[in-house]
């Protein structure tokens, strides 16, 4: 019911977004392109946090695995882009499973800590094997998605819309319902006959798939893979802030939060270093006073009966 009411609004917004390249310059498009990839990171993260109830402090572990797998294959073996994207998402899923199977046995904050450590490990490995990975400087990517700002923008937008539709549909499906029950009360969900571990692992795989794929696409847009853009803890923190800011358990809120973060950061650019501070402060205020997030608060008032 709520979805039905929001659908026309969403369609209009999407249309405006799709027509944007005809109205604005390359700089803004570049910014939004980046924001859309972050949107996918944040939506994939919300599936884990909002639905499976697991806090993944290392979204950039999955993103980084996808990005670097794709980067290495393209740089050294000149694999075509599509094959690199497939390999990148596969690497993220495999890495995610290796991490999640032992980590999901842990309860409470320990799962989060394991994911946090995983990011640091990945970052260390990349820096240690700088000869192969390019280390801190990064690895240049011979191929690019497109040299046109507009085409790159549409790729990113299309990818975000499809990912968002799939994740949102999944979250609203019976499987999403079971996942949410598992996340909120594992004992009760298992007493209803649901294999909680199986559902959480599946959610982790799906989250890893989209994170890895988005990471791989992002480096083909940027033309370089570096720790600072796809692995660093700071990247993960941005993703988490975007998702929480946008609204937990909404999936789409992640995309809104990511766009907000990046656009707001840009608009406040004149403030210099202070802009990060102001954006963080805004995020903090929203999280403290509207824990449902931007979209969460909207849906809550809409759905009140």
């Amino acid at each position: 019911m709520r979805t039905a009411r929001l659908l026309p609004v969403a369609l209009v917004v999407l249309l405006v977004m799709a027509l944007l390249p005809f109205g604005v310059g390359g700089y803004v498009l570049g910014l939004l392109t980046l924001a859309y990839y972050y949107g996918v990171f944040a939506m994939a993260w919300d599936l884990l946090f909002g639905f499976a109830g697991e806090v993944n402090f290392g979204p950039s572990f999955l993103v980084g695995l996808g990005a670097y797998a794709a980067a290495l294959l393209n740089h050294y073996y000149s694999w075509p882009i599509w094959a690199c994207l497939v390999a990148g998402s596969a690497a993220a899923v495999v890495g995610g499973v290796v991490l999640a199977v032992p980590a999901l046995r842990l309860h409470g904050p320990y799962f989060g800590l394991v994911t946090l450590v995983a990011v640091l490990l990945l970052q260390n490995v990349i820096v240690l094997f700088a000869g192969v990975t390019g280390g801190e400087i990064g690895l240049d990517i011979p191929d690019v998605l497109s040299i046109s700002d507009r085409v790159n923008y549409w790729y990113a937008l299309g990818f975000m819309v499809i990912s968002g539709a799939v994740l949102f549909g999944l979250a609203r499906s019976p499987v999403g319902l079971i996942l949410q029950a598992s996340g909120q009360d594992a004992v009760e969900a298992s007493a209803l006959g649901f294999n909680v571990a199986k559902h959480k692992l599946a959610a982790f795989c799906i989250s890893a798939f989209f994170s890895g794929l988005a990471g791989a696409m992002l480096i083909f847009y940027l033309g370089t893979a570096s720790v600072g853009t796809v692995v660093d803890i700071g990247v993960g923190v941005q993703v988490i802030i975007a998702a929480v800011l946008g609204g937990r358990r909404t999936i789409l809120g992640g995309a809104i939060g990511a766009i907000f973060l990046i656009v707001a950061g840009e608009m406040l650019r004149d403030l210099g270093q202070l802009s990060t501070f102001v954006v963080s402060a805004i995020a903090l205020v929203v999280i403290l006073f509207f824990p449902g997030g931007l979209l969460g608060s909207l849906l809550r008032t809409e759905g009140r009966q």
């Binding site: 499906s173 019976p174 499987v175 319902l177 079971i178 949410q180 298992s190 007493a191 006959g193 009966q305």
Partner: protein, 487 residues
């Protein structure tokens, strides 16, 4: 008749504590078995072991001949066991109907759309438990009883062969209890086997076919509700043996100067009525016991007095109202509560815990008080240097009481000091309380479900049942007047 559920020699240990010891039971199709016992008797653990939420250390749980002991919960659920939890924790964004649909879903990762008949079935179940009018509402907008109906609806949706029901009537009004009884009765009519877990026989007597009573993890009696109520051991567990009300020298002003008076106190926890229009008074130097089963409202009453929960009505201390005072101010005024959960500092030594209690007094006063307490509880002197966490349950309780006494209370509130303690320890504790009562002029308010422990020391007794005071009087009259109601 074939037993749907058979439990044989079930044993569960938590560390050194044997929570369930060699329990066997069987339930046939179309039968309701009541599993009763006071708080800490192990009945909930039995239920959790059957459901696989706890893994038993020994014994078998057979469902239609298949031993499922130690299986993960979701497999046991799929084998045909359902549970109605006491505490409903519904999802926030899903409607009542969606909750029931959830319970109807198969455990599959590929269910991207539910069949249309699932919705129809969910609607039918909602109608059956009386939720049809609120089907599209969110759980947080529902009254307490409807949330409980939702739990029941979810169990019905799974259509389990064996239904475990945990304290179905706690917090419900009389009319709601009748409704729930009828619904649980309908499980029987449909040939399910039902295990009903509750505190006392009385509440479930009308509903159950048989009753099994437990105490301290062991099987004490089994039979019809009447048989179990007549059983000597059961009577002793609930009512105590012969009650000796030890007389003590009358004191001037005892019971006449009202030290504490509670008038018309009510407390609501969300939608559940935890206290309803309670009035009690405690005179200077009096020892007053409030007896009631787990969930009757004892702790809430004490927390209201200590200022830890907000209550309507007035609470007066020496004639002055306590409304608006902080818990710390109330404690400094002389009301010291020794909580059920003991709240000791586990990693600190016994002595450090005591010293913390004596922070407000001078060093000399504190030393004197400790010397007196070591006389009262000699075991604590021996254990002085030990970390509180490593003490036995009984020793921890003594330490908790001693620490409360270090604060030199005018009124000492003891909440359920016997919880989970073995009978030998009870006796030690009982002696210490008696000594305290005989040698000091302290005023004590004791909350207990163990009547044997609560009555001998008491000057006056209140019986708390379902958030209300239902009886007040002399301990000597308790057994004949309030005893049967308490079983």
């Amino acid at each position: 008749m074939s037993a749907l559920l058979e439990v044989e020699g079930l044993t569960k240990r938590f560390g050194g504590l044997v929570a369930v010891k060699d329990i066997s039971l069987s339930i046939n199709a179309g039968e309701i078995l009541g599993l009763i016992g006071p708080n800490g008797s192990g009945k909930s653990t039995v239920m959790k072991c059957i459901m696989g939420i706890e893994k038993p250390n020994a014994g078998a749980v057979k469902l239609g001949g298949i031993d499922v002991a130690g299986w993960p919960t979701h497999r046991i659920a799929r084998q045909g066991v359902g549970i109605v939890f006491q505490h409903a924790r519904p999802l926030h964004r899903q409607t009542v109907l969606e909750h029931i649909i959830l319970a109807l879903l198969p455990d599959s990762l590929l269910m991207l759309a539910a069949d249309r008949h699932v919705r129809a079935r969910a609607e039918a179940i909602a109608a059956r438990v009386g939720l049809d009018r609120v089907m599209h509402r969110l759980p947080r907008t529902l009254p307490f009883a409807d949330l409980r109906r939702l739990e029941l609806a979810k169990a019905i949706a799974r259509n389990p062969k064996v239904v475990l029901v945990d304290e179905p009537f706690a917090g419900l009004t009389k009319a709601e209890v009748d409704d729930f009884s009828a619904l649980i009765g309908s499980f029987r009519a449909e040939g399910h086997a039902v295990l009903l877990v509750d505190h006392n026989v009385k509440g479930v007597a009308a509903l159950v076919d048989r009753v099994l009573a437990m105490y301290l993890g062991e099987h004490v009696a089994e039979g019809t509700a009447e048989e179990v109520m007549r059983n000597e051991t059961v009577r002793r567990v609930y009512l105590g043996g012969k009650i000796e009300a030890a007389a003590r020298p009358e004191r001037e002003g005892k019971g006449r100067t009202p030290l504490l008076s509670v008038e018309g106190a009510s407390v609501l926890y969300g939608k559940a009525q935890a206290l309803e229009d309670i009035s009690i008074h405690v005179g200077e130097g009096e020892f007053v016991s409030v007896v009631g089963l787990n969930g009757a409202g004892k702790t809430t009453l004490f927390n209201a007095i200590s200022g830890l929960v907000a209550a309507s009505g007035t609470i007066r201390w020496r004639g002055e109202t306590l409304g608006g005072k902080s818990p710390a101010q109330i404690a400094r005024a002389g009301i010291v509560q020794c909580p059920e959960s003991r709240e000791l500092f586990g990693d600190m030594s016994v002595r450090e815990n005591l010293d913390l209690g004596g922070q407000h007094g001078t060093r000399a006063e504190s030393a004197q008080q400790i010397a007196w307490l070591f006389e009262l509880f000699p075991i604590l002197q021996e254990r002085q240097g030990q970390a509180a966490r490593t003490l036995s349950g009984g020793e921890q309780q003594m330490l908790a009481i001693a620490r409360a006494l270090m604060m030199r209370p005018k009124l000492l509130i003891l909440d359920e000091p016997t919880l989970g303690l073995a009978p030998v320890i009870l006796e030690l504790l009982s002696k210490a309380l008696e000594k305290l009562r005989q040698t000091t002029d302290i005023t004590v308010l004791l909350g207990e479900q163990n009547v044997t422990f609560a009555l001998p020391h008491a000057d006056r007794v209140y019986v708390l049942e379902h958030a209300r005071i239902v009886w007040e009087g002399d301990p000597a009259r308790f057994a004949e007047e309030a005893g049967t109601g308490y079983l």
